[in-house]
């Protein structure tokens, strides 16, 4: 290797070996099997965490998600965490511009993207500097030496041009500098591609190499490339070549003596696919609408990290889905309300600041008592906050954030697959109980992926809209009728035993009626400022929402004994970290249990009793204690908090330590 930064001076032995002539690169990568590496050792690992990091333009997200798919298809359990800057192309080579994709895969269940990584793949100096603290001591670093030239080192903030690849500062790790740029260009020699286009394929080299390192076949990634570039034969050929070159490099380069094997995980039998949280929400909405026999209308304004729901839905118009990119967040929710009034299923999604803008309309939806699903893909706040970072600090906003007494059911998904379940449940509750429903997810699960043993459509719970019955015998009175008695007016706010009003849709004969945001008279829906009527309507709306808790399944522990020393109460995307920590503590003999809430309002009726059966209660949250305060206020329980508001998910280690500390008090 002759790259400037890669030129070894007092480098490690690995670095010196890397200076050997480049390995031959085959130009025809169509073989469908991988040459076995007889001359290389294989170590078996139970689970592995890889962090890919580079400039936000380096294609790191693609590399990560492709290798995720390969492992998932192989039968590993997987969990991922994409982490990227808010800017599309943040300043190249700087810490601010570093994009990351963390992948945890294993032959055992994995519940989080992993606390610390085993392998760190970095495309430049900034990526190394930003992520080195996440690498286990003794972990492997694959460094693109081309990204460690003087300019990159300076941009990353390495002082006096100190090059970590050569100054022995990484001696505690296994360092493999590879001039990926040069090897990529070599693989593409003789093609018509320009230098820029060639360099854009670097991520394929990494992808190919990492396939070799973990003994995976290239089939899945090849298929992906062939589909993606099917209309661009030169790019198709180039990407396949580089992918193969990366694989062969691992196989032939003497630098790498060991590859790793992660066997399939013992997962429940069945058919699986991979799914992200935003995909889960989109599919859940479509499935809910289909099972309810309703047309899905999705009004939305682009916002990170919720926009992928809009993208996914707009690709599924053959389900009758109507997507409407509105002029603003307010129009997004108002069009959805209008669609629900028109007999469709109105849905909208956003993130915190956008939800704030929708707030007045949510109050309207509470008053109108129409179905509406609102998804908040939470991100770091307040205000614009940290759009690409995760947080769960909008719980109070969801439950309390409206003027007046405006109760609305609030659900929280706990993982990418749970996003499907809860989106489906949100549709069911909204339609069957004639109410807006808020579903909380967050950036962590929205972009993270995991295997999903998807259900059959026939097995999904039925959803029954409470449509009013049109009055076919109704006749419009004529002016000439004079004193003829008008037919009895339809009563839009007459309720059934669950407190639910009938859904009368324009076009339904004899059911014409007026609704609005002004307080309404009980049953008739006419404007009323009567004091006692207002109290009654406030009570009726509250009772209707409270009764939704009657539909929940009994509360169920995620793990642990049904009484004991400590109950950890979680909600949202902290699920994986809490589960990992709790299973570990239980194995070690601690009396700890884990319950994960998905109904944030109204809460499960069994929670009151459950909280009493443990001496201590711990509530880990990526906020300053919002659920903890709700539990204290509602159940008079001395819940303690573990709170982290850094835009980052919890590690299992953090949960474990907090639990142990509370147990020792």
């Amino acid at each position: 290797m002759t790259g400037k930064a890669g030129t070894p001076g007092n480098g490690t032995p690995e670095a010196r070996r890397d200076n050997a002539p480049s390995p031959p690169v085959p130009l025809h990568p169509e073989m469908d099997t991988i040459q076995p590496s007889h001359h290389k050792a294989t170590e078996v690992r139970e689970k592995v965490v890889i962090l890919f990091a580079g400039d936000s333009g380096d294609g790191i997200q693609l590399t990560g998600s492709q290798f995720t798919d390969t492992n998932a298809l192989f039968g590993n359990d997987v969990s991922t965490f994409p982490n990227y800057p808010a800017e599309i192309r943040a300043p190249q080579g700087t810490i601010a511009g570093v994009s990351g994709f963390q992948l945890h895969f294993g032959s055992v269940d994995v519940f989080t993207p992993g606390d610390q990584c085993d392998t760190l793949v970095v495309m430049n100096a900034a990526a190394l500097k930003a992520n080195l603290h996440k690498l286990k001591k003794g972990g492997i670093i694959i460094a693109n030496s081309d990204g460690f030239d003087t300019k990159n080192l300076r941009l990353a903030g390495y002082k006096d041009d100190a090059n970590p690849l050569t100054d022995r500062s990484l001696d505690n790790y296994v360092l493999h500098p590879v001039d990926i740029a040069k090897l990529t260009r070599l693989a593409l020699e003789g093609t018509t591609l320009g230098m820029k286009e060639k360099d854009r394929s670097k991520n394929m080299f990494v992808l190919g190499f990492i396939h070799w390192m973990y003994g995976r076949k290239l089939d899945r990634s090849r298929a992906f490339i062939m589909d993606k570039f099917k209309d661009k034969p030169d790019l198709l050929e180039a990407n396949l070549r580089v992918l193969q070159a990366g694989y062969n490099y691992g196989d032939t380069s003497e630098t790498f003596t060991t590859r790793f094997e992660v066997k399939p995980a013992p997962m429940p039998k069945g058919e699986y696919r991979n799914i992200t949280g935003n995909q889960g929400v989109a599919i859940g909405l479509i499935a809910g609408a289909q099972k309810a026999g309703l047309e899905l209308f999705y009004g939305s304004y682009p916002i990170t990290p919720a926009s992928d729901i809009l993208h996914e839905l707009s690709r599924n118009k053959h389900f009758g889905v109507k997507t409407f990119q509105a002029e603003d967040e307010i129009a997004a929710v108002c069009t959805a309300i209008g669609a629900s009034y028109g007999g469709g299923l109105g849905a909208t999604a956003s993130s915190g600041p956008g939800i704030a803008l929708k707030t007045e309309a949510l109050g309207l939806a509470v008053m109108l008592e129409l179905p509406l699903v609102v998804v908040n893909v939470q991100r770091g706040g307040p205000s614009t906050g940290m759009p690409t970072k995760t947080e769960q600090a909008d719980l109070w906003q969801a439950i309390h954030g409206r003027n007046g007494e405006a109760p609305m059911p609030v659900l929280a998904a706990s993982s990418p697959t749970d996003c499907f379940e809860m989106a489906y449940e949100a549709v069911k509750l909204a339609v069957e109980h004639m109410t807006p429903v808020m579903l909380l997810t967050d950036g962590y699960m929205a972009n993270g992926a995991e295997p999903w043993r998807f259900p059959k459509a026939a097995d999904l719970r039925p959803i029954k809209p409470p449509f009013a019955t049109p009055r076919e015998d109704y006749e419009d009175t004529e002016v000439a009728d004079g004193e003829a008695p008008a037919p009895d007016a339809f009563l839009p706010y007459e309720r059934d035993e669950r407190g639910v009003r009938p859904w009368a849709v324009p076009g339904m004969k004899g059911l014409q009626h007026r609704i609005g945001g002004i307080e309404k008279e009980d049953k008739t829906g006419n404007i009323s400022y009567d004091p006692k009527n207002h109290q009654l309507m406030v009570n009726l709306r509250a009772q209707k929402v409270a009764k939704i808790a009657d539909t929940y399944r009994p509360i169920r522990l995620d793990s642990g004994p049904d009484s004991g020393e400590l109950l950890v109460v979680g909600w949202g995307s902290t699920y994986g970290a809490i589960r990992t920590a709790m299973l570990q503590l239980q194995t070690e003999g601690y009396s700890v249990a884990h319950v994960h809430l998905r109904h944030m309002f109204p809460m499960n009726k069994g929670l009151r009793d459950l909280l009493k059966r443990y001496k201590k209660v711990l509530v880990p949250e990526m906020n300053s204690g919002q659920l903890r305060q709700l539990l204290r206020a509602e159940y008079l329980v001395d819940a303690q908090g573990l709170n982290k508001v850094q835009g980052l998910p919890f590690t299992a280690e953090e949960i474990r330590n907090a639990a142990l500390e509370l147990l020792s008090k």
Binding site: D69, L73, F74, P264, M267, G270, E271, Y272, R273, I283, I286, A287, Q290, K291, E295, F297, G299, N316, H318, F319, G320, K322, F324, A326, D328, I330, A331, C334, T335, I337, G338, A339, Y341, G342, G343, G344, G346, E360, A361, F454, P455, K456, A457, P470, T477, E478, V479, A489, P506, G507, M508, K509, G510, Q512, H513, R514, G516, I518, N526, I527
Partner: protein, 344 residues
């Protein structure tokens, strides 16, 4: 306009009034508009369940309660958005948005301009009274500069909107202006609006006799109307002052032509063509302060009609095309996704 026939002959005159007592102030211009809307509904004769009125907030927005049709009294400024969502799933109902100058030109302007550019099929009746009535007398975005109101005791410092010029800028496909005090004209304009497929924008000068009485007197009262208004009709010259004067175009500049002095004839006048987008842009700019010397008269009538596809028609066409290309969505296929694996 008088030769126009409604879409369907009315077999009977349906009574569209609801059982709710109308609660506008006595003498309010809204009464006249309500009456003409009822008359137009009767002309079309659609059954009550096929008609929807959506409103925002303000005096005018109480409108839906007074009609025995489907209706929603929404939130401030958002009626066009609510109606757009409704239209997306209800392609056939007769859909009306009732709004005022505060509702749609201040808090809801964003939705107004976007519904116009999308061309969602609905009728917007903008009751312009140049004042906030429901909140008791603050200046509105259409109040003239210098207007003394409760919030501007020294006179408004804001330059007002020219509503139809704004709407023309948003590529409205139907633009018209009428007034509460000319029920016959209002009725004809409303008939045209309901007939038009796309967003029909009708600005109605409406007198608030409590907080801004006489704001449009110069256009509505017999003594001054002839001299300060010009009623445009497709294919006819722009005549006013009982035919004694007209408007001619000097290049792109409209000028008054006196037909009584022999200096100009009817043949020199601007002939209204409601399909001419450029001339409509000039017409909406006839917006002089009528009290100023040499002011051009204020036009009324249907300014512009452009038959372009509606938003919902294009949206529905995409859904139909997707179904045709990919077949009706199969939920099991969606749940499976593109790639699966099986664990035995």
């Amino acid at each position: 306009m008088s030769t126009l026939q409604p879409a369907k002959p009315a077999p009977k005159k349906i009574d569209y009034s609801s059982d709710q007592q109308v609660r506008w102030c006595p003498g309010c211009g809204d009464y006249s508009i309500l009456k003409q809307v009822q008359s137009v509904l009767q002309e079309f004769g659609r059954p009550k369940e096929e008609i929807v009125f959506i409103s925002g907030i303000g005096c005018s927005s109480r409108f839906p309660y007074y009609l025995d049709t489907y209706g929603m009294h929404g939130i401030h400024g958002r009626a066009p958005a609510i109606a757009s969502g409704l239209r997306s799933v209800q392609p056939d109902v007769s859909l009306w948005v009732i709004t005022g100058d505060g509702d749609s030109l201040s808090i809801g302007t964003n939705h107004l301009v976007h519904v116009l550019r999308r061309n969602v099929d609905l009728n917007i009746l903008l009751f312009n009274n140049e004042i906030y009535g429901l909140t008791k007398g603050q200046y509105s975005p259409t109040s003239p500069e210098g207007a003394v109101t409760r919030s501007t005791p020294m006179g408004s410092t804001d330059h007002p909107f020219n509503p139809l010029a704004l709407c023309k800028g948003a590529d409205a496909s139907f633009l018209a202006r009428s007034m509460d005090r000319d029920p016959k004209h209002l009725r004809e304009v409303l008939l045209r609006a309901e007939k038009h497929r796309g967003t029909s924008m009708v600005e109605i000068y409406q007198n608030c006799n409590v907080f801004n009485d006489g704001a449009f007197e110069i256009f509505t009262e017999k003594a001054s109307k002839a001299l300060h208004t010009v009623f445009v009709e497709h294919g006819k010259p722009l005549l006013f002052d009982n035919g004694r004067k007209g408007i001619k175009l000097d290049g792109f500049t409209p000028k008054v032509a006196d037909l009584t002095t022999g200096g100009a004839s009817v043949d020199d006048l601007w002939v209204h063509d409601e399909h001419d987008s450029f001339k409509a842009s000039l017409l909406v700019r006839l917006f002089d302060d009528p009290h100023k010397e040499g002011a051009l008269p204020r036009p009324f009538g249907v300014f512009y009609v452009n038959e372009r596809p509606t938003h919902e028609a294009k949206m529905n066409a995409q859904v139909a095309l997707a179904k045709q290309k990919r077949g009706m969505g199969d939920l099991d296929v969606l749940l499976r996704g593109k790639q699966t694996w099986t664990i035995n």
